[in-house]
C-alpha cells in the first residue's frame, strides 16, 4: 500500500472522510426533480401567458396583414415574458443535463425537445382558461407582479390596436367607438387590408391595426371582431374626441 492509499484509509478510519448516506442522494435527487418540475411549470406558465397576452390584445391577428402586420406583431409581442420563459427553459436544460437522455443528444436536440414540451404544455394550459380565471380573480387586488401582468393583458391594448363598434361611415374611412368609449377616426387607404367579402357598416364590431395619432388612426389592417369579446376597458380618466367634433372635422 502506498502513500496515497494509506493516507486515505487513515482518514476513513479516523472519520475525517466518510460516505454520505444513501438518503442524502435520494433527497438530492428528489429536490432536483422538484426543481425540474417547478422550473418546467414556470417556463410553461410564462409561455402560456405570452400566448394569452397576444390573444387577449388581439396582436395575434396582426400577423395576417403581410409584412407590416408581422412586424407589428413582432414589435408588440411581450418579449420580457417570452425572455423569462426562455430563461427558465435554459435553466431546465442545465438541470436535466446531468441525465443521459439529455447529454447523449446534441444540445440543439435537447433544447428543441424542452421547447416543444414547453410549447405543448403552454397550449394545453391555455385550453384550460387558467389565465382568464386567474386574471378575473386578481382583478381588484394588488398582487405583486401578477396584477400588472394581467392588467396589461386584459385591460390594455398596445398602441395601434383598436377594437370597437363602427358608429359612422366617412368618405375615407369610418368613426369607431372604442372599448374606452373614445371616438376615433379611422382612415382607410389603398394599402389597408380590409375583411374580404364584407362591406363595413355602422354597428359592425372591428379590430383595427394602424398608426394612431390622438383621435386619428391610419389603418393597415381591419378585421371583424367577435362582439362577445369586447371588453369595457377603463378610460384612465381620458375623455377624448367628441363625436360631434369628429363629425365636424370629417364630413362624410
Amino acid at each position: 500500500m502506498n502513500n496515497i492509499q494509506e493516507k486515505i484509509l487513515n482518514k476513513i478510519q479516523s472519520g475525517e472522510v466518510y460516505m454520505k448516506p444513501k438518503w442524502h442522494f435520494v433527497l438530492r435527487t428528489g429536490l432536483l426533480l422538484c426543481g425540474v418540475v417547478i422550473v418546467l411549470l414556470l417556463a410553461v406558465y410564462f409561455l402560456s401567458f405570452a400566448i394569452f397576452f397576444m390573444h387577449q390584445n388581439g396582436i395575434w391577428l396582426a400577423s395576417d396583414f403581410g409584412f407590416r402586420g408581422v412586424s407589428f406583431f413582432v414589435m408588440s409581442s411581450p418579449w420580457l415574458i417570452i425572455s423569462t420563459s426562455l430563461a427558465f427553459i435554459i435553466l431546465l436544460y442545465v438541470l436535466v443535463h446531468k441525465y443521459s437522455f439529455s447529454y447523449k443528444r446534441p444540445l440543439v436536440y435537447s433544447m428543441l425537445l424542452i421547447v416543444v414540451v414547453a410549447v405543448i404544455g403552454s397550449l394545453l394550459m391555455n385550453k384550460t382558461f387558467m389565465h382568464q380565471r386567474l386574471g378575473n380573480i386578481i382583478e381588484g387586488h394588488q398582487v405583486p407582479m401578477l396584477s400588472p401582468m394581467y392588467r396589461g393583458a386584459m385591460q390594455e391594448r398596445p398602441e395601434g390596436v383598436l377594437v370597437g363598434t363602427v358608429v359612422e361611415l366617412l368618405k375615407e374611412g369610418f368613426v369607431i367607438k372604442s372599448e374606452k368609449d373614445e371616438f376615433i377616426v379611422v382612415t382607410v387607404t389603398e394599402k389597408t387590408k380590409l375583411p374580404p367579402d364584407i362591406k363595413i357598416q355602422s354597428g359592425d364590431t372591428l379590430i383595427v391595426f394602424g398608426d394612431r395619432k390622438g383621435d386619428y388612426l391610419t389603418a393597415f389592417g381591419v378585421k371583424t371582431f367577435d362582439k362577445e369579446k369586447l371588453r369595457p376597458f377603463k378610460n384612465n380618466g381620458k375623455q377624448n374626441g367628441q363625436l360631434k367634433k369628429v363629425k365636424e372635422n370629417n364630413p362624410s
Partner: protein, 186 residues
C-alpha cells in the same frame, strides 16, 4: 479464484468494508495518475488531485448504482476534478461547446483506422500534449485508458457522435503535428 469485479468490490465498500476501498484505489491509482498528467500536461500536484478524486469517490460511493460499470463513474469524477483544475489555472472549457451544440455526423471509421491507430500510437506520446484539452482528453481516454466511445460519452457527458468527431479532429491534428515535425527534420 475468480477476481472480484470493481462493482462487486464497490458493493462491499457500500456495505461498510473500508478496507475493500484499498483494492479500488490500487486498481485505479496509476490509471488516474496517468490520465491526470496526460490531460493536464503537468506532473505537479498530481498526487493531490488523485487523492482528491479518491476522497470524492468514497464520499459519494453510495450514490453509485452497482448494476452499472464503475470505471466511467470514477473517470467522470476525475474528469470534473481535472477540468476544475484547468479552469482554476487557465479559464478554459466552456459550458456551451460548439461540438455539442449541433447534431454532428458520426465520424467515419475507415478500414485504415487500425493501421492509422498504430501509427498514431507511436507518435501520440510526443504530440498529444500539444492538443487542445477537449481533443486531448478523448484521445487520452481512448488510446491510453482504453475506454470505448460509449464510456467516454458517459465520462464527458457528451453525445457519442461528438466523441467520434473530437477523436477524428484530434487524430488529424496529431497527424498535422507529425507531418510538420517531419518537414522540419528534412
Amino acid at each position: 479464484m475468480v477476481e472480484k469485479s470493481d462493482e462487486q468490490i464497490v458493493a462491499l465498500v457500500q456495505a461498510g468494508d473500508a478496507e475493500a476501498y484499498g483494492e479500488i484505489m490500487s486498481r485505479y491509482e496509476n490509471k488516474l495518475k496517468r490520465y491526470a498528467w496526460r490531460f493536464l500536461n503537468t506532473r505537479e500536484e498530481i498526487d493531490d488531485l488523485v487523492q482528491d478524486v479518491f476522497i470524492k469517490t468514497y464520499t459519494n460511493i453510495k450514490s453509485f448504482n452497482t448494476s452499472l460499470r464503475f470505471s466511467p463513474w470514477i473517470y467522470r469524477i476525475a474528469h470534473n476534478t481535472f477540468v476544475n483544475e484547468l479552469k482554476r489555472k487557465k479559464h478554459i472549457f466552456n459550458f456551451f461547446d460548439s461540438d455539442t451544440i449541433l447534431p454532428l455526423l458520426a465520424s467515419k471509421e475507415t478500414a485504415d483506422a487500425d493501421t492509422m491507430d498504430n501509427e498514431i500510437n507511436e507518435e501520440l506520446e510526443i504530440f498529444v500534449e500539444k492538443l487542445p484539452p477537449k481533443y486531448r482528453e478523448v484521445i487520452v481516454l481512448h488510446y491510453f485508458e482504453s475506454l470505448s466511445y460509449q464510456e467516454i460519452s458517459e465520462v464527458l457527458h457528451i453525445p457519442v457522435t461528438t466523441v467520434g468527431v473530437r477523436m477524428t479532429r484530434g487524430r488529424n491534428k496529431l497527424k498535422g503535428y507529425y507531418q510538420l515535425s517531419e518537414q522540419n527534420h528534412e
